[in-house]
Symmetry: C2
Subunit: 619 residues, 2 copies
């Protein structure tokens, strides 16, 4: 049986692609070479180097081999990189020939079905080694900072006070000179000796439920480390509204939220620095994205009125602070750039998604859905761009689900339902719970099998029509309808894992919020389902989302084959883009001003659309 394989050979040009049909069991490298597509294989295709690596950009990413893990490391594997010599696809996939790691450009998600663009790395952080001529005569009329400023061609007043304290020693202790770090005409640091090659930055995505911090090298754009954790504010409220209610008119509680997120960010910084060997003082730029409430709380700004109609944010403009002002333990004068916001519930994360998906360009109307506890939906093209909030709640991140969990080791991330349930776990280890992508597969499969009907009810009464092994998993526990996903011991599960009727209802609420957001934006823009050229699903699921399952449960409309794709954590990617490219950061400002905010709750048609979207599509 032939398997369709698309190879994007030049990420700069969308048209540079080869469509192949390869025999099952053939590795991508062998198939590519047979078709005349150049993929470098330095070790001869033995899995001993990284030169033949490709990145999966559409289709199911195969589980990593030992070769992938040893050669590419965790971070690249998680990003979807695989060694093409080790990987034989079994279903349709699109891969991109990977950019050389030393190249100073950075891959972005683009229009069409694959990755198309790269941006040149111009992060704005510059370092130069200078020798500063200090006065030798007593009759001088100068100072250390004037001599330094003259050496780098700036004014003394451009040197921030925080840099002055250690200046005299730095200028005198190393005959090689001092390394001066600048950003936007401002001196960020003066270090003794030559540290010009040490230039790093952080992209931080502060979500309601998850926080992701990524460390990048600012010359090559290479990702050195990434860490993701639960937002520790979650103990004070799972969704935004309860988080705001906790802080509302209560400065003490606001302070609790504020210190928790700052504490976590400093833990993340310590962790990415430890795993990469980078010193915190070499981090000079940070880009932060997050929804409006998270953004306000991070700055210690009272979000009370964000939670009260008409939901006015306190500020929306892009803000740049020093790390010192935010108490982040990196270079004290490092610039922390917060991307702009759009409205009370459409934040910088939505702007980052728009940036990364390039939804703002081209003639084709497209939809980008950022699925998260406080999700957003974008619809538009180069002409206009609309956005609304889609408060899905934490279900897709495993929250408020009986045995839900985030996409960590042991999470069930794939489920198939036929004669029985079968599961796959992240890391192929003992099953501990269900993450977002697994939950979607599970419910989609149960719908298809008739275990759940279109209203969402678990069909305990009709279980006798099911295949025997599946039937035994559908039962009443007292008053509660449950599907027994795993009995204790099955797939190594230390305890049984169930899907309850309540879990299904939570998922219905969550997917209803997203689906009705898409429907409402189409409604406002006057666009039919057929008028949507492409739909991009973004968000930090446990693993790559099954598009089929998303369509089956009605999370997204059925646009037909190839017009829906999963684009990963686009908010974090947008932050990385702004970290590596100042023109992209400037573009974020333009996008934020262009986005037209649609307030769903205030729209007279919303309630009926939401109720309709709560149900599952009938088969």
């Amino acid at each position: 049986m032939a398997v369709p394989l698309t190879i994007l050979t030049d990420p700069r040009r969308i048209e540079a692609r080869r469509e192949l049909a390869i025999p099952a069991g053939t590795t991508i490298l062998v198939a590519a070479h047979a078709a005349g597509v150049d993929i470098t294989a330095t070790c001869g295709g033995r899995g001993r180097c990284t030169s033949c690596r490709v990145k999966f950009v559409a289709g199911v990413v195969p589980p990593p081999t030992i070769g992938d893990e040893v050669q590419l490391g965790d971070a690249l594997v998680r990003e979807g990189y695989r060694l093409s010599c080790q990987c034989a696809p079994t279903e349709a996939v699109t891969v991109q020939v990977a950019p050389p790691l030393e190249e100073t450009s950075f891959q972005i998600l683009g229009a069409g079905t694959g990755v198309v663009g790269r941006v040149t790395v111009v992060g704005g952080v510059d370092k130069q080694l200078v020798k500063v001529a200090l006065p030798r005569e007593e009759h001088h009329q100068t100072s250390d900072v004037e001599q330094l400023a003259a050496a780098v061609g700036m004014a003394a007043a451009d040197v921030p006070a925080g840099v002055l304290a250690a200046l005299p020693q730095a200028l005198r202790e190393d005959p090689a000179g001092v390394t001066v770090t600048t950003f936007a005409g401002r001196i960020l640091a003066v270090e003794r000796g030559d540290t010009t090659s040490m230039r790093f930055g952080l992209a931080i995505d502060v979500g309601t439920t998850s926080v992701v911090t990524t460390l990048l090298e600012l010359t090559s754009g290479e990702q050195l480390a990434s860490v993701s954790s639960l937002n520790p504010q979650a103990v004070f409220g799972g969704d935004l509204m309860s988080r705001i209610a906790f802080a509302q008119f209560n400065p003490g509680n606001l302070r609790k939220l504020h210190t928790r997120i700052l504490g976590l960010l400093n833990q993340h910084i310590a962790e990415v620095c430890r795993t990469s060997g980078v010193l915190p003082k070499w981090i000079y730029k940070v880009v932060v994205v997050g929804n409006t409430c998270m953004h306000h709380v991070l700055l210690g700004i009272d979000p009370s009125y964000v939670g009260l109609a008409p939901y006015a944010p306190v500020m929306r403009h892009a803000l740049t602070l020093s790390a010192r002002e935010l108490f982040l333990k990196i270079a004290p004068e490092a610039r922390v750039c917060l991307l702009p916001l759009v409205a009370g519930f459409v934040g910088a994360d939505a702007v980052a998604v728009a940036l990364a998906t390039r939804i703002y360009e081209g003639d084709v109307l497209r939809v980008a859905v950022d699925i998260g506890t406080n999700g957003e939906v974008l619809l538009g093209s180069a002409a206009r761009l609309w956005a609304c909030s889609a408060p899905a709640g934490p279900a897709f991140e495993g929250g408020q689900i009986r045995h839900g969990m985030r996409g960590a080791l042991g999470a069930i991330d794939r489920v198939t339902v036929d004669e029985d349930l079968s599961v796959h776990t992240i890391g192929e280890t003992d099953a501990l719970g269900i993450c977002g992508s697994g939950l979607l597969d599970l419910v989609a499969g149960l719908l298809e099998a008739g275990v759940i009907d279109w209203t969402g009810l678990i069909q305990v009464e009709q279980r006798d029509a099911l295949p025997p092994r599946l039937r035994d998993r559908v039962l009443m526990r007292g008053e509660e309808r449950v599907v027994l996903v795993l009995r204790a011991g099955e797939a190594g599960a230390p305890r049984e894992i169930v899907l309850t009727q309540d879990d299904v209802r939570q998922l219905q609420l969550a997917k209803g919020a997203i689906a009705s957001g898409i429907a409402m934006l189409r409604h406002v823009a006057g666009v039919s389902v057929e008028g949507v050229g492409e739909l991009m699903l973004a968000g930090g699921f446990g693993n790559y989302l099954s598009i089929d399952s998303a369509v089956r449960i009605g999370l997204v409309p059925d646009l037909g084959s190839g017009r829906i794709r999963y684009v990963g954590n686009a908010a974090s990617l947008g932050a990385q883009l702004c970290l590596l490219s100042e023109p992209e950061r400037a573009r974020a400002d333009q996008i934020a001003r262009r986005i037209e905010h649609v307030s769903l709750a205030a729209h007279p048609d919303f309630e009926q659309i939401f109720v309709d979207c709560m149900n599952f599509p009938r088969p």
Copy 2:
């Protein structure tokens, strides 16, 4: 016997003056009215109001009466204000008819022999009450800060992050609106309701030995409170060089100096606020002057190399920080303006003295001497301006003198020597020690009486030639030559107060430093003593310095009558000028760039000049 009285009737015009000769015992008010000079006397000259107050600008200021103290208060009395209805001069004085307190201009020291100039108050801190239109519809595309910025005609990005935290509540809690405080196009505070009349600032003079903090109302320029204390860093070294040695290459010790001065400034702030009833959050502007080392330490900048040849300062440019960055407990975004420096030992205090004395304007060459532990001498006119450091040590502030003390209650501030010693104390209370002005009087009188010879030796061997009561005060105590200034019980002294041979030597070192600084600048500028049109003595002595005594001990050259005057704490006055007038603050920058620094120690002729200046002038 007629007493010469000069009345300056219009501080804006130097020529507006009346020269009178009044009968001894006549009050200034009566004499002025008799001569047709208008002085308002609302209470009819009964000492019950402040309308007839005058300010003494030359000659000895008479001790305050109870009327002065009750009506004018401590601060004005210390500044030399007296009620003209209560005051009958006994020797030649010049007084200025006081400006109405509500007038928005501010008195400065000027050329000639009196006070001549006033500056219009344009401190740069503006407050306006605005009503901000907040969004009422959910379909808005705005934010609190955008609405605020629109209301005051600024951009949202001009609002500092520190102001945002409390913005949402402030905007919604008072129907009167919010008061927005701005400075140089920057929003400093947003307060609910109308606080437009609350606008205050601080002028801070950080000396090596003394720190003076003055609270001014920014509309009228009125001084509300002033506090002066010992610099608590003094325990780590009395003069600058020992202070620098303590911190040199020792970050822990630098931190001690840094926290001590910050702690004192916050104590001063608490004190001036308590005595005046002003809330710290209403203080929006601070101007700080100090020598280079004090300036660096206040900013936490390593001063190690300021103490090592070629004595390079780390920075010299004017710097403006937020109070938050300096940890000052006033409005967090208040602007703290540090005036520019000139060299390692010619600091912002010298620039402030130049500004307040107007030495930089006019054709006449003038000298300004700022006497302090790290004194400075300035010489110049509109054409050129030279400055050098004159490290007098703390003797003039009572330091390193056996029974020396600062000019506080109980300090001996005047001494006359004839048949015996007689003393006057500040507050006319029991004598506790000798302050700077008393020390000068004492040594000048002892020189004149032959108790001390021109080399500085106390003439114990020749004591028999002295009047009997004086003779009994000149004696050997073991190996030590002393003058018994007060025996225990005399003038209420709880213990005896002596002047030791070492004290005389300390004074010789101190006055030698100043005198040789003046001589060296004349030497560099090629100006004879006769070429100096005026000499202004500045500094925080215990009380108004006797010019005669200063000339007698050779602290300053004998320019002849009326060409030397004491101008008070000109450094603090310069800071106050910059607080009340942004054009004056801009002028400080120009002055700092104009001043030509003369390094004494590097000059080949300095040593001989210094040795000559150590001796007292022969009678």
